[in-house]
């Protein structure tokens, strides 16, 4: 109980403190301190959940079970490493004059608030609060994306706000319908919005309302996940914001949105007794993988390219959860974890590389390996990992997804083969000259913080070769919870 209090309290307190003192030079370290606090609390919470199983807090308002506890731990961990990365990054940005003290204050404050909202969204049991938390997360990231005040970041923030606002409004309508269906079964004061109550009574819910509700929820949270027809805001938002924001957006916010969709899928599967939810996820997932793959080859901006790669991976994860079955769910959860680790590592490396070259265009970043081998190897290994080369974890989950898909949905595999091939060709064609070859770059004034990059890559490598038993038990429990 107290661990959850700490997990939520620390970032909130951090947001308040940093709102006051965010513009000071030591604010960076305070930010790291608070993130460290959150991570410690999260790991304590995780230990508790492993020991005693799922637990409630504050009278069923908050509910921790294997599915969301590993996301909480992941969010806290990536939050910490991004905070560490943003220390030197922000100092360099300040030297370049792109970050003024007031903007720094806004950045640090919003950063902590953003991690608070994500943690609330993950741990809450109340679907309404989940929606509110997602809405506040959108608001904070809109401010974070527009922190540079350039025309492009303004445009990106505006589109991000409008598109996600509309998307989340659909989700609200879906929640209302869900509440309506639940109220019929649980009665007026039955706490109809609490997921555990819904979960216990999910077979008696009215299929028609639940189908409509899932449609709205899927479109709503699907916009936040970045599935293809609804993805247009993602590349602009991830590319124009400061790199720590892109890392956190790509790494964590997409996972939280997909977590919300999964919560609803569990209810819909039981209520409809049909695989409609799975088919929707699979269809949109496959569409996202194929379309995002073809987007990749014409990119000029490195962060925009990796944003499209995030769309592709979220599509693959959605396809995995759409497949259903214990192995596919397991693979989906594993892919979620490894994707956030590796994608944030890539954004760290790309951040430093872009700072060295003074621009995010890939033509200007050449021959990194001669100027700073560590960044170069970070970027090369990261992009190889994200493209699904073993021995990294992304390959492990892709292996499971492709082999199960081969027998359950054989028609999908040629499309997947095409998409993965095109994606590999496009991304690698851009990354190779960036890392190897002649260089025009100048060294960085401040030593880049590459510890996070290589810690993430090591974890990704570990997940590819050896998955510790307790982590595996987690995934299996969570997969069973998803109707495995």
């Amino acid at each position: 109980m107290s661990a959850l209090l700490a997990v939520l309290g620390v970032p909130l307190l951090g947001a308040a403190v940093l709102a006051l003192v965010g513009h000071r030079p030591f604010a960076r370290d305070v930010n790291v301190g608070f993130s460290l606090g959150t991570f410690v609390a999260a790991s304590v919470l995780t230990a508790e959940v492993i020991a005693q199983g799922p637990q409630f807090a504050w009278g069923q308002e908050f509910y921790i079970d294997p599915l969301n506890v590993f996301l909480v731990a992941l969010t806290a961990f990536v939050g910490l490493t991004t905070a560490i990365f943003s220390r030197p990054y922000m100092r360099v940005e300040q030297d370049h004059g792109k970050m003024t003290p007031p903007r720094l204050r806004l950045y640090h404050g919003m950063y902590q608030l953003f991690s608070f909202t994500m943690l609330v969204a993950l741990t809450t049991n109340n679907l309404g609060i989940l929606w509110v938390a997602m809405e506040v997360a959108t608001l904070t990231t809109v401010l974070l994306v527009s922190v540079y005040r350039t025309a492009a970041s303004l445009e990106a923030a505006w589109k991000y706000f409008i598109l996600c606002g509309v998307g989340i409004a659909q989700a609200l309508f879906g929640t209302v319908l869900l509440y309506m269906a639940a109220e019929k079964v649980l009665g007026l004061e039955g706490g109809a919005l609490l997921w555990t109550n819904l979960d216990s009574v999910k077979t008696q819910l009215d299929p028609n309302i639940i189908a409509l509700a899932f449609a709205f929820l899927f479109i709503g949270y699907g916009t936040k996940v970045g599935l293809v027809p609804l993805h247009n805001w993602l590349p602009d938002a991830h590319a124009e914001g400061p790199t720590p924001v892109s890392a956190v957006l790509s790494g964590l916010l997409l996972n939280v949105a997909l977590y919300a969709v999964l919560r609803c899928k569990v209810l819909t599967d039981a209520a409809l007794q049909s695989a409609l939810a799975g088919q929707l996820l699979m269809g949109f997932g496959l569409l996202s993988v194929v379309v995002a793959a073809f987007f990749l080859s014409r990119q000029k901006d490195v962060k925009r390219m990796f944003a499209y790669s995030s769309i592709e991976h979220m599509g693959l994860i959605a396809f995995a959860f759409g497949l259903g079955g214990p192995i596919a769910n397991y693979a989906g959860l594993l892919h979620m974890t490894v994707h956030s680790l590796i994608k944030s590592a890539i954004f760290f490396a790309v951040g430093h590389a872009a700072q060295k070259a003074g621009s995010q265009l890939m033509e200007d970043i050449r021959g990194l390996i001669k100027v700073s081998p560590t960044i170069a190897w970070g970027l090369m290994l990261g992009s190889l990992a994200i493209l699904g080369m073993p021995p990294f974890g992304v390959f492990a989950s892709e292996f499971l997804i492709l082999t199960t898909a081969m027998r359950q949905q054989p028609w999908a595999t040629p499309l997947l083969l095409l998409a993965l091939g095109v994606a590999f060709a496009s991304v690698f064609r851009r990354v190779l000259p960036m890392v190897f070859g002649e260089t025009t770059l100048k060294p960085l004034p401040h030593a880049p913080a590459l510890l996070p990059v290589f810690v993430h890559l090591a974890l990704g490598l570990m997940l590819g070769i050896y998955i510790p038993p307790y982590l595996d038990a987690w995934y299996v429990q969570a997969a069973r919870m998803l109707g495995g």
Binding site: N126, G128, I129, W131, V132, E135, V136, L139, V142, L143, S146, R149, A151, A152, L154, E155, A156, A157, W158, K159, F161, I162, G165, V166, A169, Q170, L172, F173, T175, V176, L177, Y179, M180, E183, K184, L188, L193, D206, N208, I209, L212, P235, D236, A239, E240, F295, R298, K300
Partner: protein
């Protein structure tokens, strides 16, 4: 008492739908804001009546909140923005008004058709309102698509929030208090941020036309 309350709620629901239609086809920005305020008022009235009928005290609180937000604060903010940015021009739309109206009608029919099977089961007294709420959401969605200026787009977004709020109150006697508060807070903060953005867009592009916001694209 209940039998003649349902038509009253249906009346207000029809009112909200009519206002959504009117906003869709409105050219002038000032009248657009007035229509939005009227829609807020209708929503407040509907919530009060539902609250009165179902003796749900927290509905009064949310009605008060909506009144404060959607009828007083946000229209005042919009007026301030329009005065400061001296926005006086007419609202030209991408496709002409008759076609938008036609599409609007098709959407309403679709929304009703969609909500029909659900309406029978809903226990609340106002069965038909769900279809209307859905229609209002779709219409405001249409409005956002067809408008090419920042302010009308924001108003479309807010009228969509109205539709959702109406669905929450009418279909399910209102969501739990903490959720209502959260939604209201979100809308308010959203509005603040949009206001700030409008100032920046105006300062960056010295016009609120969204066509300037088209540089981030695939060449």
């Amino acid at each position: 008492m209940d039998e003649h309350v349902a038509p009253l709620i249906n009346l207000f629901a029809a009112g909200i739908l009519m206002l959504a239609f009117a906003m869709l086809s409105q050219r002038r920005i000032l009248t657009l804001i007035h229509l939005f305020t009227l829609q807020g008022a209708a929503l407040v009235a509907a919530t009060v009546i539902v609250g009165y009928v179902t003796h749900q005290s927290h509905l009064y609180v949310s009605a008060g909140l909506t009144l404060a937000l959607k009828v007083i604060l946000i229209p005042w903010l919009l007026h301030r923005v329009i005065d400061r940015l001296n926005v006086r021009w007419d609202v030209e739309t991408l496709i002409n008004i008759p076609t938008t109206m036609l599409i609007g009608i098709v959407l309403v029919v679709f929304a009703f058709n969609l909500a029909l099977p659900i309406a029978q089961f809903s226990s609340s007294i106002a069965r038909g309102t769900l279809g209307i709420a859905l229609a209002c959401v779709m219409l405001s969605f249409m409005m956002m698509i067809t408008r090419s200026k920042a302010v009308p787009q924001v108003i479309g977004f807010l009228s969509m929030e109205n539709g959702l709020f109406f669905a929450a109150t009418s279909a399910t006697y209102g969501m739990p208090m903490v959720v209502e508060l959260g939604i209201a807070l979100d809308v308010l903060v959203g509005m603040l941020i949009l206001g700030v953005f409008m100032f920046q867009i105006r300062e960056q592009f010295d016009s609120l036309d969204i066509s300037h916001l088209e540089k981030l694209k695939e060449d």
